[in-house]
Point group: C3
Chain length 418, copies 3
């Protein structure tokens, strides 16, 4: 009963016919409850979702939980060091098994009747149940999990998408960053009063950066495009790219994006929902920090600070920007048609000590400011598209090619999987 | 998809068959989400809505916004002094263009990508868009606007109702009040946790005044009716009416309502949704203030304080009570099936200075008290009609003739326009 | 329009087919709005609801109100000492008649237009209405009421269930407790963010008591069952039961439950939705208090403190635990699919004086702790069953026989009455 009925599915297909590539989405996609439900089914219950960093659960029994709309999921490291995920729902009467959002456990003991599950999800104890019942089928419902160079992904699907293509693309980029030898410097959670798709549209272009992100544009070339990349900028980028290419190749690091503007992503025609690239920063910037200076010890395999910026992204809920000395992951989760939760996770090298090797005052502001500026933009966008008068406008082929790709990807997924 | 489907429209027509003239509305009209949606379509998107006073935007570039349910609208004075209204929705990606509720602008610059619109709504700048696109069709969506003697009305309809009949009736009454040479003394906003129709029903009778509005009834004859207008009151009203009529006629001011009780409004048979009249106050009252004394300089063309009280009302969202020295406008906007926003605007002569010529302590209480008393009544009415046990009761033909007229008007509009 | 349409009823019947006796309910029963609406119609508008204690309204004109979802009901003692209930909705325009939740009135005067009703609900005054209308049919809508040994029950049904069978079972147990000569020691209200059915499931087993209610299990035998009633406990219970039986029979008090574990209730096969029993407490406990000591004067007809514990329960909203010196009633009311209001009422003998004969510090904690522990369990259960991954688990036939009975009763009622 909670899923969509035939009439609702027909209404969604009808709405899809009103979408025109090259334009934004029509109002119902941001506004109607049944599209939100359809998104949960077609996108969020199908795709691979970033859950967190492996270094959040360094030891067996370490766990944290993640809520995807109404689904609570436990991420836990097993005794065999493997990270697994389980639905946080007791197989007995359905209570949350974990009522804490993170911690360390020997076994998961349901607070209601003390049904007890191992770190591998198996049901171990159910005092008081009749003998003729079989325990074996009553472990915590498992959730597909993939660990990728220190990043944890889960899929709520029964038969998840193939993850290997994503791994092959991302692993070579992520490996030298050393997420496996990292520690969490800070986790912050945000409520964005906007549909999750508006958050992605915002993420997929830097057309809005000039005015909205004064600190961000000093460090990056993303906000320039064919219409405004003047000679001086083009020359600067060419110089820094050539220099970086030579140096990084020597170190085994690839430079894949050599132009101003954002690297193309996603690619709905090739069904590409994951990507990674390394890109030079503006001269004088060794890290995405307010001053451009390195503010923490080098991470991973980096020989020096001159490694540009690494970007990883995966639909529908993850992006990461990493510099030589730290990485920042953003994790989205839907919590209603007009509410998206965002978690930001800053990581540094595992040996770095706060107060001695780095300070949060230097580490956080660059991306914290950028994120808060974006969340406010998204809130105003939601208020606007809620208007009955809203009509989708044309997208800039110069600056919003990725928004267009993203929307085409979204509509394609929705059409196929609903 | 956001509009009503065939099944819903049929359900509404079914509900309408359960309404009986002479009685209140059945529960679904106050309680059901689809009727609220129908009201938005049939009433709020069709009628003329009071937005504010012209004196809120005295100079070119002055603007304020108004929210009608989820639709945000900008009211702005143009370089040609004409007041216009536009949907507060960028034609690009749909963001709110104005995130402030009032102010002064040269151009409307969307905070997202800086698409820039003139004070006339025209799209002027869209840095970064491809050259082959045509700007001309992408101005802010216009909203029909009418200025009427210093009062601003808008219609969200594509083809709005004819405004001229309303203008002809109201203008002669409004003109001598001098709203065009007024200034705002105070704006206050209220949340009324009640369906908008309950607020109107409350407004359309003074049956509730005796006990609920002890200060209001001292100044007015509204609360008397054929059942309780004793000889002394009838004589007093006759004397004051005769005296006023003679005097006001000399000044070119009409007296249209000469009886106790409220002037009949609306008239569903003639499809009259607007009206104005001038009525004497009780002897000793020169203004609707706590003491009856004039508390601010004379407004408009008035030669002296003895001009009774002017009343203007327009469905679905406006009424105004004005005295010789000030006017009070009430503007309703729906914000949910159980939530109505009310804005009260007190205006005085444009030359009057606060602290010198008037004080808010003397100006506000009469109507502020009356309004707050009414909002509380409406909240209790909503709680009551939400009960499954609520059944519409009979209306008093002596004291609630206007409630009956109003409900007949409402049901007629809903039937016709759904 | 507010009730269920054919499509919705079909969907509910479909959901019912997915319920399996011996297991919990499928997710839609806790999660879907239309099932909540169906519960209101089939259960809450049909059954007998505990409203409060007669001693809350000792004198004519004393009243209190109770909200059942959106229905407000007044309970009032009449001039003839009979307790009656009325819908708190004016027959005129539907306003709440009583805006206070309790008090003393001569007549109910609607705050809107002062329609005035007697303590018997009759319309007495309607100033301003036309003469040709008939007042007689316009009293407050009555609500069926039953007083049972100092307990007040109401039914919102037009044709309520027969109450007499319930009375015959409960009265002999309730009478000696002396609720008729009681006074309220304390009333406390709670919000439980859980579907009302989860609160009942929690109430119907003591499987969860061992860990969750450390103070409760010291006083009772409820939490033992065939799987864990060791010889020492069995012996202890036998001794105390034999001793109590002999003594209580002499006093005319019945002992009906002589085993560990909870007395069976409800009985869907016999359609039994009410029950009462008297049960021994653990040796050393004379009252359900933290110390086991009697903390207030004896109630009712009890000759001494050794009267065990009296339990009464009635679906869908009432249970009471009483000791020799006090009684505690719990009243549930639904306020949304995920929100249940609970009111707890502690009563003591009418002659007992706070501060002299008893202190709240000694009287409240035992049940206050137990209740708050349970409400928190219910909140966590709601969060868990909201997950798309939730699947109903097997119930313990040893410890959850009453949960199974309760769910079978619920599904049966829903099927029959929808």
């Amino acid at each position: 009963m909670s899923v969509l009925n035939a009439q609702e599915i027909e209404a969604i297909h009808q709405a899809i016919t009103e979408y025109k590539p090259g334009y934004g989405l029509p109002r119902p996609f941001y506004h109607d409850e049944i599209i939100y439900k359809a998104d949960l089914e077609a996108i969020w219950s199908q795709g691979w979702l970033f859950a967190g960093h492996s270094c959040q659960v360094p030891n067996p029994g370490d766990f944290f939980t993640i809520d995807v709309d109404e689904d609570s999921v436990i991420i836990v490291r097993g005794d065999d060091q493997v990270i697994r995920a389980f639905h946080n729902v007791c197989r007995h009467r359905g209570s949350l098994v974990c009522t804490k959002s993170e911690g360390q456990i020997k076994r998961f003991v349901c607070p209601y009747h003390q049904w007890t599950y191992g770190r591998d999800g198996k049901l171990l104890v159910w005092r008081g149940m009749q003998d003729n019942l079989e325990k074996s089928g009553l472990g915590l419902h498992p959730v597909h999990t993939q660990e990728l160079e220190g990043l944890i992904f889960i899929s709520l699907a029964e038969n998840p998408l193939d993850f290997e293509a994503a791994r092959q693309v991302i692993a070579p980029f992520a490996r030298p960053q050393g997420f496996q030898q990292a520690r969490v410097a800070k986790i912050m959670d945000f409520d964005i009063e906007a549909n999750w798709k508006l958050v992605w549209e915002n993420n997929r272009e830097c057309y809005h950066c000039n005015v909205n992100h004064p600190q961000y544009i000093k460090a990056n070339f993303d906000h320039y495009n064919s219409d405004d990349t003047i000679g001086r900028i083009a020359l600067q980028l060419e110089q820094v790219t050539t220099r970086s290419e030579a140096k990084w190749a020597e170190l085994g690091l690839a430079v894949t994006h050599k132009k101003t503007g954002m690297t193309p992503f996603p690619d709905p025609d090739q069904n590409i929902w994951y990507s990674a690239n390394r890109t030079p920063l503006v001269d004088g910037y060794l890290s995405e920090t307010m001053t451009g200076r390195q503010v923490a010890p080098l991470m991973g395999d980096y020989p020096d600070a001159d490694v540009g910026t690494l970007r990883i992204r995966m639909l529908p809920n993850f992006w990461n920007h990493s510099s030589c000395d730290h990485g920042v992951s953003v994790r989205l989760t839907p919590a209603g048609k007009y509410l998206t939760k965002a978690r930001m996770i800053w990581v540094v090298d595992e040996k770095a000590q706060e107060g001695k090797d780095y300070s949060l005052d230097e580490l956080l502001p660059f991306w914290l400011l950028t994120a808060e500026q974006d969340w406010e933009i998204c809130r105003n966008a939601q208020k606007g598209v809620n208007s009955r008068a809203y009509t989708p406008g044309p997208l800039s082929i110069i600056k919003e090619y990725n928004v267009d790709s993203y929307l085409r990807w979204y509509v394609q997924e929705l059409s196929r999987k609903i």
